[in-house]
């Protein structure tokens, strides 16, 4: 079980300056999301350090209009997209949890345990 991998989706689905959420259990609630900034792909848990709850207000809607901040739609916390550092809001100074991944055959692949464990790394 510990070595099971999960193919989240095609890396090409994540546009430059945009984000894409993933819902491996298919219940309508994304639990991890990718974003691409300055050509670099980042993968974060969809879990605000403030209340431990999901952040997007609509599927894939994690960023502000300018695309330079991740915004938690629950209570307005804002994070740097490439470091996950909270720069405004109730969890100021805390960080989003990064998710380790690899690109295999154009797909984003991660270990199942990376996105099922509840504790922060």
């Amino acid at each position: 079980m510990g070595n099971a991998t999960l193919r989240l989706g095609r890396a090409d689905d994540v546009p430059e300056g945009g984000a894409h959420g993933y819902d491996p259990s298919g219940d309508g609630q994304d639990i991890v999301f990718a974003l691409r900034r300055h050509g670099v792909l980042h993968l974060w848990r969809d879990r605000c350090p403030h209340a431990g709850t999901p952040m997007a207000w609509r599927r894939h809607a994690y960023l502000n209009a300018a695309g330079d901040r991740i915004v938690c739609a629950a209570h307005g916390a804002q994070f740097e997209p490439d470091t996950g550092l909270c720069v405004s809001g109730p969890c100021l100074g805390e960080r989003l949890q990064p998710v380790a991944f690899a690109i295999d055959g154009g797909e984003i692949v991660t270990a199942t345990t990376n996105i099922t464990k509840e504790t922060s790394s």
Binding site: G28, Q29, P54, A56, A66, A73, H75, G89
Partner: protein, 313 residues
Amino acid sequence: MNIVGLDALVFGVDDLGAAAQYLRDYGLVDAGGGRFEALDGTAVVIAPENDASLPKPPTPGCRLRKTLMGVADAAAVEAIAAELGKDREVRHLPDGSIESVDEDGFVIGFQVTVRRPLERVGEVSNAPGSPIQRAVNSNGVDAHAPQIRPRGLSHVVYFVADAVKAEAFYVGRLGFRCTDRFVGVGPFLQPSGTLDHHTHFFIGAPAFMTGVEHFTFHFAGPTEVMQNGSRFVVKGYQAFWGPGRHELGSNWFWYFNSPFGCHMEMDADMDLHDKHWQPRALPLEADNSQVFLLRHRAKWMPGPGTPHDGDYA
């Protein structure tokens, strides 16, 4: 003071088109000019966050710019202006409303209410023995129902730096009444012109968080909340809490993340109370926050190939 409830909430947003789509999908009617109305004419109003005509938010991170309350008549507007004018600026606006601020810097307005009387039966269930039933041959649910419409603006919940001070202002200066409270957190408040369990709820929080936790409109009943909420999920909106039913107020709830920097709820079947009601005081814990809590699932049916554990497999 005879405040009958919320007339409108005004937000400054960074993506007007996305926020407008969200409100249309929620069920509000686009009345033009950034105004999105419920069936009774109460509304959410949105404008670009850099619109210079918007009042200032209480804190930089708060997207709510103004809470507009409806009152019974012009005399009530003037009574509030006289009361608030004792210790703070009250502005008379060209539309006949007044504008001021509360203890936490939330801009508040008062006008003769825009609420239109609604004469529509709410959700009625066919309970054996009940004298009130649905009309014979009328179906309880319509899978293909057109867009479900919220009936009216229900309540707003503020994070406030000092819930005791906030309560004293709304009760002492504006004639609200506490109907219930979460000990050490804050009160549910009802203005004098409605029987709704609450139009305001305050949550004590660090001062930099002063802002909105959520706001919501009333729907016709639990079926509308479930059906509208399920459609909302299918459209990609992200649920935060629910569906479920609260203990204090008894309202059905389903909270969603929103582009307004707070949650937007769908609610139904809130308790009505008058002056004979004795407020309850409960500690804030999961057990007291809801009577039960459910979760959206993808549609499913039992049949050939059903796992041993059914839907819970």
